[in-house]
């Protein structure tokens, strides 16, 4: 079972490695299933058995467990987990509850109505997050763009811009993708800001 878990993790990992591209970006914006890239990532929890998950996390953490992490991980906190059933995702804010459900898949299906509830009014939240992130990106950089273009020429400038956008997009994608709930069990918890 551990081997299959590792294989699943590795498959997801390889999936996350694919660089962000323009069709991919369009896919995220429109929601249209152009290439179905992150479908496997939505199955974030391959098993509901917490003991097995912990063992797996320990096996991945290797010799670090008990050395430095023991002082770091004081309170293990769980992150929300997304499940995928037939293409639609269910968001749960209490994954520990799902861990205790055992092997049964039926309770997950019962959660489906919550999707409709939650997707209602999502657009404002979505736009809010987009504005926050745009604000973090935009800034003094805008005033220097023309100078960068004058130093490289129009065509070369656009190519460079695309490269750095793609590069940062990939980084963002990877930061999100590596937010694996069953690993965070053993890692440091941060307080942002």
């Amino acid at each position: 079972m551990r081997a299959s878990l590792e294989a699943e993790a590795h498959r997801q990992f390889l999936h996350a490695m694919k660089p962000m591209s323009i069709p991919r970006m369009l896919h995220y914006i429109s929601g249209a299933d152009l290439i179905s890239p992150w479908r496997s990532l939505r199955v974030a929890v391959p098993t509901p058995d917490p003991a097995r998950v912990l063992r797996f996390a320990e096996s991945m953490d290797g010799p670090m467990v008990g050395q430095s992490y023991s002082s770091e991980a004081s309170v293990p906190r769980y992150h929300p987990v997304a499940f995928s059933i037939g293409g639609s995702s269910v968001n749960s804010s209490a994954p520990s509850e799902n861990f205790s459900l055992g092997q049964g898949q039926a309770p997950l299906l019962q959660k489906l109505p919550a999707v409709q509830e939650e997707s209602h009014g999502r657009s404002t939240k979505f736009l809010g997050a987009v504005f926050l992130l745009m604000n973090a990106i935009l800034g003094s950089g805008l005033l220097g763009q023309a100078y960068a273009a004058s130093q490289s020429g129009v065509a070369l400038y656009l190519v460079c811009l695309l490269v750095s956008a793609e590069f940062d997009c990939t980084q963002l994608a990877c930061t999100c993708a590596s937010h694996r709930p069953w690993r965070v069990v053993h890692s440091t918890q941060f307080s942002y800001y």
Partner: protein, 372 residues
């Protein structure tokens, strides 16, 4: 360059995958212990310092001219309080400083919509005005001596190219803000967050591309570092440009405290990690004040905004993108003793570290030699 960057991401991801962590400081801690975490935090703090300095330099360029126009006198010939340095320090102390005392960053949420609107307006003004600006006219009015001619180039390659990639890479960095936004998302799934990231990236790419291309096509060989400043010098009586300048000055002023937060967080992570979760007013105000004072001092000394972009881009961006991932990767794979797919890139990682140091030093030398 792009290949190296992708390779670095690959290595960094392997590190994240190996240790199950998602932040730079955590990878640094896993690889080199407290030293690694401190180095990562310091470089992230430097990145934020670069952004803050850039903002204050914009303020330094904008404020004196606006005040001079409002008071109908020439810059440098007004009353004693209209000295540029005094104006910048005054605004920082009176407006920005109290805003950094706020405990909760949410209180500054209104600024994000405002800044985006202003940047959008600025881009629209550039696109509208680009047809009415001529390069030869600009050379005369701005009294430029050595320009690169009034020909628009598709590709153009000279020593100035060393500044292009640092500037662009610096323009897209938003990683300090990503995880806070992700954790506060209502529907917190990877797919949803990727949608958010993709949308904002695409929007920013469009804005940058429009501003860059139209700005360059307007001024061509006469393009200077700060486009807004140049447009103001070119047509001082244009009310649209004037409105743009006032709004940009206002939005920059309220954004500085917002960027002060991640800088403060990085310093807290580096200096007082053990008590990072306990809120202390003394530390909060102390670090905020120290950061602001240092950045203001830096901005008053720096000659132009392209210097800030260049130096910050080729020191912190190269460090965050090339050198640290390679070092962390080598250390982590050796430490955990993982074999197979995860450990076959040590030579590549070493080359990446060496290449990163070489590229960083080379562009730094290029930027500094342009200064002198």
């Amino acid at each position: 360059m792009a290949g190296c960057a992708f390779y670095a991401i690959f290595l960094l991801l392997i590190c994240c995958e190996l240790k199950g962590v998602t932040s730079y400081e955590a990878v640094g801690f896993a690889a080199y212990g407290v030293v690694g975490r401190t180095v990562a935090a310091v470089i992230i703090a430097m990145q934020n310092f670069g952004a803050l300095t850039g903002y204050i330099v914009i303020l330094k360029d904008l404020l004196p001219r606006l005040v001079a126009e409002a008071g109908h006198f020439k810059v440098g010939h007004g009353p004693w309080w209209s000295h540029p340095a005094l104006l910048v320090v005054g605004v920082v102390v009176v407006v920005v400083w109290p805003m950094t005392w706020l405990r909760d960053i949410g209180a500054l949420g209104f600024t994000s919509g405002f800044s985006i609107t202003v940047m959008l307006l600025f881009t629209i003004v550039i696109v509208l005005r680009s047809s009415s600006i001529s390069c030869t006219e600009a050379v005369q009015r701005l009294e430029l001596h050595h320009t690169e001619g009034c020909q628009a180039h598709a590709t153009h390659f000279d020593a100035g190219f060393a500044e292009v990639f640092p500037t662009l890479a610096f323009s897209f960095v938003c990683h300090t803000a990503l995880l806070p936004i992700y954790t506060e998302l209502k529907t917190r799934t990877v797919g949803h967050m990727l949608k958010v990231a993709g949308t904002s990236m695409a929007a920013c790419f469009t804005l940058y591309g429009l501003a860059g291309v139209f700005g360059y096509l307007a001024f061509r060989g006469a393009t200077q570092g700060d486009l807004l400043d140049e447009m103001a010098k070119y047509s001082p009586d244009d009310s649209l440009v004037l409105a743009c300048r006032i709004l940009v000055a206002a939005s920059v002023t309220v954004t500085i405290p917002l960027i002060n937060y991640p800088a403060r967080r990085a310093i807290t992570m580096a200096a007082c990690y053990s008590t990072r979760d306990k809120f202390s007013w003394v530390r909060h105000v102390g670090i905020g004040t120290g950061t602001l004072a240092l950045v203001t001092l830096l901005a008053l000394v720096v000659p132009s905004i392209t210097t800030v972009f260049g130096v910050a881009g080729c020191t912190t961006s190269v460090g965050l993108v090339f050198v640290l991932p390679g070092m962390f990767y080598i250390r982590l794979t050796k430490m955990t003793g993982v074999n197979g797919d995860f450990s076959g890139h040590r030579l590549g990682a070493l080359l990446l570290v060496i290449g990163g140091v070489v590229v960083g030093v080379a562009s730094l030398v290029g930027v500094i030699s342009k200064l002198i």
